[in-house]
């Protein structure tokens, strides 16, 4: 009954194997097929857990989110480099909390990782729906609390945060 999922898992694993080995003789491809088959049979339920709603739309939206995230990462790096190198060292760090309206674990993980990657903020802890965020100065915290990023993540995972 799970033969479709096992097969898809096998295909993903075997593509990965080919990419990493880049050898096409019988020994490498053969051992790849055997290993991927065993792993696909044993752990296909790790990759496909339960019911997946709108998996393709979410993936597309996540890929569309990546350029914006990359832009934010570049800004974050320039910002931190400026604070580290300037003689007066303009930092004013604090830990603050805010409540998220995101429901699923995946969405919260995506938001937490995005917060850590973007300017001046690091997610310290998540307890239920409360995020503990360490900000290096006031401006990054204010930017985060405007909620642009939360809306973008909510859009990816089709959740309502308004």
């Amino acid at each position: 009954m799970n033969i479709k999922y096992i097969f898809i898992t096998f295909l993903i694993l075997f593509t990965f194997w080919i990419l990493l080995s880049a050898h096409f003789d019988i020994l490498h491809v053969g051992s790849g097929i055997v290993c991927c088959a065993i792993v696909a049979y044993a752990s296909h339920d790790l990759l496909f857990t339960g019911t997946q709603n709108h998996g393709l739309t979410k993936t597309t939206r996540f890929i569309a989110y990546l350029p914006w995230l990359t832009y934010q990462i570049v800004i974050a790096n320039i910002d931190v480099a400026r604070r580290a190198l300037s003689p007066s060292m303009p930092i004013d760090p604090h830990i603050f909390t805010f409540k998220t309206k995101l429901k699923s674990d995946v969405a919260r993980t995506a938001l937490a990782n995005s917060i850590t990657l973007t300017p001046g903020t690091v997610t310290v802890d998540i307890i239920d729906d409360v995020f503990y965020v360490h900000a290096i100065a006031k401006e990054p915290a204010e930017d985060l609390l405007e909620g642009t990023m939360e809306r973008k993540v909510a859009h990816i995972f089709m959740e309502d945060v308004t």
Partner: protein, 135 residues
């Protein structure tokens, strides 16, 4: 001519990547406490290493692949480097968060320049609650 342009771009990207890595390291030394040092190392490494690996991809495809004519080999190595970039993009914030959470769980207090209430009052939104003191 072509190989000179490729090598120039590669060197430029390597130098920018080096700048961010060095800035992160200087920040690591200069910043006052554990949490703010997380910012320096966790962020600058992502872009610094990303740019350096991007330089390696351009070197492999442009110089080894197109200029020297071994394109298949170059493409396979480039894909491996792209996987490395994706791994860093995923692992860096996760490990930064894991270390910060460990520090927060044992109750390490962040270094503060200004008073807690003053900082909160300066923030414009009312969603904020005072949460820095929990351990």
């Amino acid at each position: 001519m072509f190989d000179t342009i490729i090598i120039s771009i590669v060197i430029l990207l390597l130098l920018i990547g080096l700048f961010f890595t060095v800035a992160g390291t200087i920040g690591f030394v200069r910043f006052p406490d554990f949490y703010s040092r997380m910012h320096a190392t966790g962020k600058c490494d992502t872009l610094g290493e990303g740019l350096m690996l991007l330089a390696l991809i351009i070197y492999m495809i442009g110089y080894e692949g197109i200029f020297k004519g071994d394109l298949v080999h170059a493409l396979f190595i480039s894909i491996k480097i792209i996987l490395l970039i994706l791994f860093i993009l995923l692992a860096n914030p996760t490990s930064t968060h894991a270390i910060a959470k460990a520090a927060h769980d044992v109750g390490l207090q962040p270094w503060k320049k200004t008073d807690e209430t003053q900082w909160m009052n300066d923030m414009e939104t009312d969603e904020v609650t005072n949460g820095g003191e929990t351990g």
